[in-house]
């Protein structure tokens, strides 16, 4: 694997401009002071209760995501390019979804194969012909971005269902500002605190026509045992909207109401953090206790807006991912600004043959997996693991895609033996309302804390960093 691109240091000893002030500050700051701040940050996270749950671990149902106090910094120029690319990508995602559930031009043009859509479990036939307000399907997108050099931003994954992590973006910043006021004074960091306002504006802008002029928005959570529960309560609080569970909602005459101390109150927009499968036991999984019976008929009647819309999984599916550059070109007639990772589709015999021959160098992912589970990282895997995976792959090739192992960029990070480079990715959050698409400058930087590790997922030992976009 090639030497990773370091976002702070240029080979040869120079610093990239965005990091110069930080480097000066680090030189003046004794390592004990950093360690002390790190402990303080951890204490704050625990006290505020910024925790997440790891499924399958009886012992500790609430854990902290490790927080690294060294910020990850990008220049305003880099951000402008990235922002343009993200907007383009999300516009294409929305147009693709609108097309898939209506005219299906893209299938007729044979850009995307039919069976990838119709045989895909995340395709929702219930959405065929369903109008969604302003044709917005993906109101909140989390696009995972990695860098391998100074020029390009590469999309690792589109998250168009219920992307999480934005609370960390906001809380990391709050905590950094508390711990390092001096460091902020020495930089011009673009603020992120407008995110909740922009999210609320986007959600209100897509209220159904039958809503009053002051639409009621609620956030639907699976409940306190969900791994992202903290984020749900955090956002509801920042937005000033009710945090509801399925049992708080009831559907009457195809309208959705919440049970309040003053009786039933109509809800117009639901920012739902419950997966499609669990939304409505009458339409989807009948055993779901998280959902609201009848919600889908109120949705079909156009009396409720769900954000994100039902069926968006078909756009962020890993099988569809490899077609994204073509999807962007097809709908927008533009060259994609953000690159894709070269991807071998194991469903295609030629690609499969190549993948099977090169397993030890590739990353193989399950098409429907998430959170870093069920994937093979060839270069880091033992022979036995690779052979076991080979069998799985042969049995069900259409369930997998493969990509080269990317040398993700690195950033300086606190480790037991002082500052050292660690691999990072970035998840900016893209909001789409009736009129505009907005992105607060920044996002969630995830960092693989183990030396050499490329897995940034919090469920597998990843941490987070505050992400600074310099306002130049």
């Amino acid at each position: 694997m090639a030497v990773a691109f370091d976002e702070m240091n240029i080979p040869g000893g120079d610093l990239r401009p965005a990091y110069q002030e930080l480097a000066r500050w680090l030189k003046e700051t004794p390592p004990e002071a950093l360690e002390y701040r790190r402990q303080e940050a951890e204490l704050l996270f625990r006290r505020i209760g910024i925790t997440f749950a790891v499924y399958g671990e009886a012992e500790s149902t609430e854990r902290l995501i490790p927080f690294d106090v060294i910020p990850r910094i990008m220049s305003g120029r880099e951000w402008t390019l990235l922002e343009k690319g993200l907007k383009q990508r999300v516009r294409a995602l929305n147009m693709f979804l609108r097309d898939i559930y209506h005219g299906r031009d893209i299938l007729r043009a044979e850009i995307v194969p039919d069976d990838l859509i119709f045989q895909n479990p995340v395709f929702r036939p219930e959405m065929n012909g369903q109008q969604v307000p302003h044709d917005v399907y993906v109101h909140i997108a989390g696009i995972d971005i990695v860098r391998v050099d100074a020029e390009d931003f590469i999309v690792l994954e589109d998250n168009a269902r219920t992307p999480s992590g934005v609370s960390y973006m906001l809380e990391n910043r709050e905590i950094m500002m508390r711990l390092f006021p001096d460091l902020f004074a020495r930089h011009r960091v673009a603020p992120v605190e407008r995110y909740p306002d922009e999210l609320l504006a986007a959600l209100r802008s897509v209220a159904p026509q039958s809503a009053s002029s002051e639409p009621t928005v609620a956030l639907l959570t699976p409940g306190v045992y969900n791994s992202a529960y903290y984020e749900h309560s955090f956002l509801a609080d920042k937005l000033g909207i009710e945090l509801v569970e399925g049992r708080d909602l009831i559907v009457k005459n195809n309208e959705v109401f919440m049970r309040t101390t003053e009786g039933l109150k109509r809800v117009d927009v639901i920012y739902r953090r419950v997966d499609d499968d669990f939304l409505d036991p009458l339409t989807f999984r009948p055993d779901s206790v998280l959902g609201v019976p009848g919600l889908m008929s109120a949705y079909a009647a156009g009396n409720i807006t769900l954000a994100n819309a039902v069926g968006t999984g078909i756009a962020d599916d890993k099988a569809i991912y490899s077609y994204m550059p073509d999807i962007v070109k097809f709908y927008l007639g533009e060259e994609p600004i953000l690159k894709n990772v070269p991807t071998w589709r194991c469903r295609e015999p030629k690609d499969l043959a190549y993948v099977l021959d090169n397993l030890s160098e590739l990353v193989v992912k399950e098409v429907h997996g998430s959170g870093g589970y069920g994937m093979l990282i060839g270069p880091a895997a033992t022979k036995a693991t690779i052979e076991a995976f080979r069998e799985k792959l042969k049995r069900e090739p259409e369930g997998f895609i493969a990509q080269p192992t990317l040398a993700l960029s690195t950033c300086p990070t606190c480790t037991a033996s002082g500052l050292a480079p660690r691999h990072v990715d970035l998840r900016p959050f893209v909001l789409t309302g009736s009129k505009s698409t907005t992105i607060v400058p920044g996002g969630l930087t995830r960092v693989a804390l183990k030396e050499g590790s490329l897995v940034v997922n919090s469920s597998q030992g990843g941490g987070t960093k505050d992400t600074w976009i310099l306002d130049e």
Binding site: R47, I48, G49, V224, D237, E242, E245, R259, T260, T261
Partner: protein, 314 residues
């Protein structure tokens, strides 16, 4: 607001109040049992503590004897006792998590810190009396901090009123229960057999509702059972008296009634109890029978809890 939110706020406040009451009860019992036997007679004070906590029946399913070790363990740290202090704090934290959006950050911090301390410091219980004393202080301080942060930081809207109703309903229940268990030592002198030794019983009652000093300020008298009963039942200047709790409950329910533009069974029922307390005097109560009076009150009070639940919380 969501019914579920109101319900969680109401129960959260009840759990915190209950934890404090249990801590005070244990504290008072420790004091009285530390006295030489000649001063307190033959009653088993640990058994009374269980009765005032309302958990005697379940206690004896696990334990043979109500002694200091067993009762302290059961009331403070037991995972099996749903209303042990530990479980009250656990439940309070779970409720807080469900209604984080309705809590101020100060209130959340109080409960969350208490829960963290409970796990970090008290997971194995208290092995000495000194440790126990520290634990009881921690519980009381948590409750004070919670109450104080609610008072100082919450918006005065339905969320606040539901939370206060939880406090007052629980408090009224606690005060009534201690009277229920100890009423016999409060009977007028000619009727009971305890003699002057009851002084320590009386002060113990006052201590468990943090009213010992208040008593002296209100009556400027030595401890007299008649006046103790008066203080705890009818004196609305004492925050833990039944009269004061009901003054507050009626006020909170009225505030909700005004905000929502309608009254209901809860308002009427609470007002009925308050009027009864307002128009009683100790003479009548003793004539009628303190014990009967208190038992009726306990029933009426839990009835109010049911009515509030039906009217607002489900």
């Amino acid at each position: 607001m969501l019914s579920r939110t109101a319900e969680n706020l109401y129960w959260l406040a009840r759990y915190v109040e209950r934890a404090e009451y249990l801590a005070r009860t244990i504290d008072a019992t420790l004091r009285v049992t530390a006295l030489p036997a000649a001063y307190i007679g033959k009653t088993n004070e640990w058994d009374s503590a269980l009765l005032t906590a309302g958990v005697a029946a379940s206690f004896y399913q696990t334990y043979e004897e109500a002694n200091e070790h067993n009762v302290v363990e059961y009331l403070s740290f037991s995972a099996d006792n749903p209303s042990s202090i530990r479980n009250c704090i656990e439940s309070a934290r779970l409720n807080s998590r469900s209604v984080r959006t309705a809590l101020t950050s100060e209130m959340w911090d109080t409960i969350n810190s208490a829960w963290i301390e409970l796990q970090a410091v008290w997971s194995k219980g208290a092995s000495t009396r000194e440790e126990l004393a520290k634990f009881l202080r921690f519980v009381q301080e948590t409750s004070l901090r919670f109450d104080g942060s609610a008072y100082r930081t919450m918006l005065r809207n339905d969320a606040y009123w539901f939370s206060r109703m939880g406090v007052h309903l629980e408090r009224a229940d606690n005060t009534a229960r201690i009277l229920d268990v100890k009423y016999h030592v409060l009977l007028p002198e000619e009727e009971h057999v305890g003699g002057p030794l009851d002084f320590y019983q009386w002060s113990s009652i006052l201590r468990s509702v943090s009213a010992l000093t208040a008593y002296h300020w209100v009556y400027r008298e030595t401890l007299k059972p008649w006046l103790i009963a008066d203080l705890l039942i009818l004196n609305d200047t004492l925050p833990r008296s039944l009269a004061s709790c009901y003054g507050n409950l009626v006020r909170n329910l009225d505030q909700i009634g005004v905000a929502y533009g309608r009254q209901g069974a809860a308002q009427r029922h609470a007002r009925g109890i308050r009027n009864r307390l307002e128009h009683s005097n100790m003479n009548d109560i003793f004539q009628h029978g303190v014990h009967e009076f208190i038992q009726e009150f306990i029933t009426d009070n839990s009835r109010l809890g049911e009515i509030i639940t039906k009217q607002y919380l489900i």
